[in-house]
Symmetry: C2
């Protein structure tokens, strides 16, 4: 299985790489590192990436920047970052990348649980996450040879430690990666996969 992984150098992206079976070929894409570098907000860079890489079995995105901060202090630019990068960057992975995915393959995007369980300071990022989840549900109705799912991570323990937060209620990157493996399985299409994975999944 040939997997194009956007966001490979991030905490979740590294864990997804580790979790993929050893017979997967993983093409690691980062903003500044990896096998290829792209700015997710630049459609021309995405077009060039897909032209370089050729056909794949899966595209997984663990990438996407958005701003966290009090509503009263969020600037126009803070909203634009989330809309151009995490939202339209990932929407454009579907629009521009679907032709590169072999029939029966899958595209997996990343939203976040703040879409449905917000906290103060999350209005811009919750907005973007909610947009991604509704986009995936709607777009999946029109994709019949490629599946499309979205993983909604909770706070990742390793990130919480980096930010000086108490990581007690976080979910490890390794456990978060399991949701991306779940998203690759052939029964899911148009699904929002929440963390932690419950027993039913």
């Amino acid at each position: 299985m040939k997997v194009l992984l956007i966001g490979a150098s991030g905490t979740i992206g590294q864990a997804v790489t580790d979790a993929l079976s050893s017979d997967c070929e993983v093409i690691r894409v980062g903003h500044r590192s990896g096998d290829h570098q792209v700015d997710l907000s630049q459609p021309d860079q995405l077009r060039a990436l897909f032209a370089d890489v050729g056909p794949v079995d899966a595209i997984i995105s663990t990438a996407g920047q958005a701003s966290f901060g009090p509503l009263a202090q969020l600037s126009d630019d803070a909203f634009e970052l989330g809309l151009n990068n995490k939202l339209m960057g990932q929407v454009n992975l579907v629009r521009l990348g679907r032709a590169s995915v072999r029939p029966g393959g899958v595209i997996v995007l990343t939203s976040g649980i703040l879409s449905r369980h917000p906290m103060p300071g999350s209005s811009a990022i919750a907005m973007v996450n909610g947009a991604l989840e509704s986009f995936v549900k709607a777009a999946a109705l029109e994709l019949d040879d490629v599946r499309l799912n979205v993983v909604a991570p909770a706070f990742v323990k390793e990130t919480m430690v980096q930010m000086g937060m108490d990581p007690t209620h976080g979910i490890s990157a390794a456990d978060t990666a399991k949701a991306y493996l779940r998203a690759l399985e052939p029964d899911l299409h148009g699904a929002i996969i929440d963390l932690p994975l419950d027993a039913a999944q």
Copy 2:
């Protein structure tokens, strides 16, 4: 009660005007008609509107343009329209208008049921509607002197007739307007109000 109604000339906006009690003062805002004209996607026009109008008890938006069409045919501009107009236009009503709403007042936005119940052709508009609903839930956590709700209309019968669709399963504009009156009531904050209103509401 002084109500600033953005989208007053639309099918739903006219029905909301009719439904508001006769002792309400309604300031009707349209794109090209009404007491004031604004382009929802232009923050400077919103700033000028709020400066002109002064304090109000409620802002209701029944406005916002977004594109409907097959995912494979939606242009970059089609996505931009929804993001700049229906999404950020209404987000900016909150960001720029909250200071004009008297304490205890309310802001009511409009999303649409396609956020959670999409159909083919709705990927761009479902995305925008989902963004609005998650934004409202998150932003409400930070608004303590003004309430914020969002109405998620289903297809409006009158619009379906205009579009040549079978209106059997549509909801009339008059019934849709009831959801906006519900959104004004003091017990709702951060709520998504679906149509049809069920008995519990």
